[in-house]
Subunit: 224 residues, 4 copies
């Protein structure tokens, strides 16, 4: 049977690269996003399925996995790529939007991991990967919203690695330290999403005798 | 004018010790909690004010600060001590309770910090302290709920330290690595809340030439 | 009997502040340094003893403690403050000087901790503190020499905290994140050594129910 | 021209796996160790060169690189794999052996990195990898010797990553969290060195748009 991947929070950057790479390795691809229209050309290019999903909504995530069950069964790999970020000094931030951002960046990952784990434990194998950011390990000034979400996501990933690695479910947390893109952003070098996707796949193919749970990726010229 | 402290998430352990210590240093004390009945004897003992508050509710926190304004004006010290934790494997956890726990442990701290900062920036001084746990820096197996909340809280605190220290608002994050209590819990040594409170007050009295933003506290016999 | 402190790597900055503060708390002070001439005025001011010592030399450290035994017996507090640093790209650095720097910054701390522990274990109490730097947790470009020494020192301190806290010997590691001084250095704010010394003494007086092993200190306007 | 690798501190475990894997990828292999007799069969198997070297000795490392120059020129990849460890409470440890251990585990890495960088900067490319351990990030009780060496090594690696990544020299630091072996050690699962070697090679082949500098590897059943 073909291996399969479910990417939640799919868009045009890293998730598109991941979808293309997985597809090139003969994996069946399902893409979930709030707005699936933007996924149309990718869908056609690789024969992926797309499912509308609000990753921070309990019911929506439950439905996502029920639909995924019918298309590919239990995915071999689930990638949580959704996040919501905005900057601002603590006194300028909107409270409701802040709560919504924590829900997308962190709580949604919990929901997706829960549904994925329920299925993977039955099959006794699987990989669940989370996309982090510089803000996963450093709380920058005026970035408290993103720091709460991404620190929280890292706490989830680390806890799940300890719980699930012994059950043959591989957890990966990737700290993407910089903006993703194919071209420099002015004088700023961006991280090529194809290169990131390659590292995700290498993690996915690690032997369980030597599993990583986390790595950082940045351009060679990034200050850190 | 008397210095003052607002403790959010007040109960019988650390927050009571802090209230007593602050009061003994001649500070005016306001205690906020969902259930303020349990604070009655403490209230009488030190002449504190108590305010009912749901720390994860936007409106409730807004009201808390309006009431506090009338009683003590802008507090010199605000301590966020609220948290909600429960254990369980990822597949056993209730999604709604998990979301509520993140809201109390992390989002409520954001709300309280926001209201406090608005006032402290006008006065150009203040201290905002957050109570962390072992789970702030280590995601234990079956502790994903607490890890999400406490990692997120630490991200908030670190981000605020970078934003607000230059504006003369001192941020403190305390990793309390163990159970708090006055007596051993079976063979397990607990951390004396009076000793923790002492360290909070020492942080509060640090000169801004040499501010800490974080420290860990555990018993001398704790494994870590 | 009077409490006592031994400060190794004593000079004019933090160690002088510590010596003065300890003396003001009625502690007997012994100061050790390669060059003890520079300690003359401090020695007179507080009635301290000074001992010549090369902290990275096995025999010299052994002699230091034998002399200290006769003057104050086993010190209640031992502070390791010696370090050797210089900057430079990896290809420009002198190998022998690099080795000497690691020996002073890290290996010497081991020697001092070993001699101190031998004595403190007999008395069943004591505190051993190590002075770290920004380089203890961040390896800056062109700072590999200092990073090796200070990372290594932190590894020593953390290991000793795990070994010795249960034996009632308190280990403290202080990350001094910035230059120490009483006046700004151009537009750069320095950390007041008296303020640092105050935090050392507060650590020293912590109750063993709630021991820290590490904290960071920086000015309120420091970027980090 | 063939790519090449120099492995310093070569023995029978990880370094042998790395040598075999590099050789299978058509890389020329040079192995350096204090005792090169033990490398004889590996040498024959893959047509490697072996060079006697004491990695903590300035002159010996200088000679190693002069010999390497003649055999393979500037290596594309240099791996520092040497370390010296022993356990013991702080009061039981031998001071001279402790110093020697720091020299092998940390200072020798500096020497090797320095010689390698001098050459790689001229060619404007290269990779320098360091083998870490659990003790690189956690100072265990009675493990102060190894903690000093491995923390120090990590400080070196992080500093060099910041200095040399912008100059197209890729630094890798690998935290091998557990014992290496092909078979369980009693009930204890070991990390397969072939699996570790695979991750080293994937790092080596990373595109500089998305470089890691560090990752951790452990078995799926390791507690951490």
């Amino acid at each position: 049977m073909k291996e399969s991947v479910l990417i939640v929070g799919a868009g045009s950057g890293l998730s598109a690269s991941l979808a293309l790479l997985c597809s090139s390795k003969n994996m069946k691809v399902v893409l979930a996003a709030r707005n699936i229209k933007k996924l149309d050309s990718l869908k056609k290019e690789i024969g992926a399925e797309t499912i509308r999903c609000n990753a921070s909504d309990i019911k929506s995530v439950s439905n996502l996995f029920k639909k995924t069950d019918k298309i590919i069964g239990t995915p071999n790999l689930v990638v949580y790529n959704a996040s919501l970020r905005f900057h601002g000094g603590i006194t300028e931030l909107d409270s409701k939007k802040t709560q919504a951002a924590i829900n997308v960046t962190c709580f949604g990952a919990f929901l997706v991991a829960q549904e994925a784990t329920r299925r993977m434990l039955k099959r006794k194998s699987g990989s669940i990967f989370f996309t982090g950011a510089s803000a996963s390990i450093k709380g920058f000034a005026k970035s408290s919203v993103f720091a709460m979400g991404k620190f929280g996501l890292r706490g989830l990933a680390q806890s799940l690695a300890r719980e699930l690695h012994p059950k043959n479910i591989h957890i990966g947390h990737f700290i993407i330290d910089g903006a993703i893109g194919y071209k420099p952003y002015g004088s700023y070098q961006t991280i090529n999403p194809d290169s990131i996707a390659k590292t995700y796949l290498e993690f996915y193919n690690q032997d369980k005798s030597a599993w990583s749970w986390e790595t950082e990726l940045r351009t060679s010229v990034e200050k850190f």
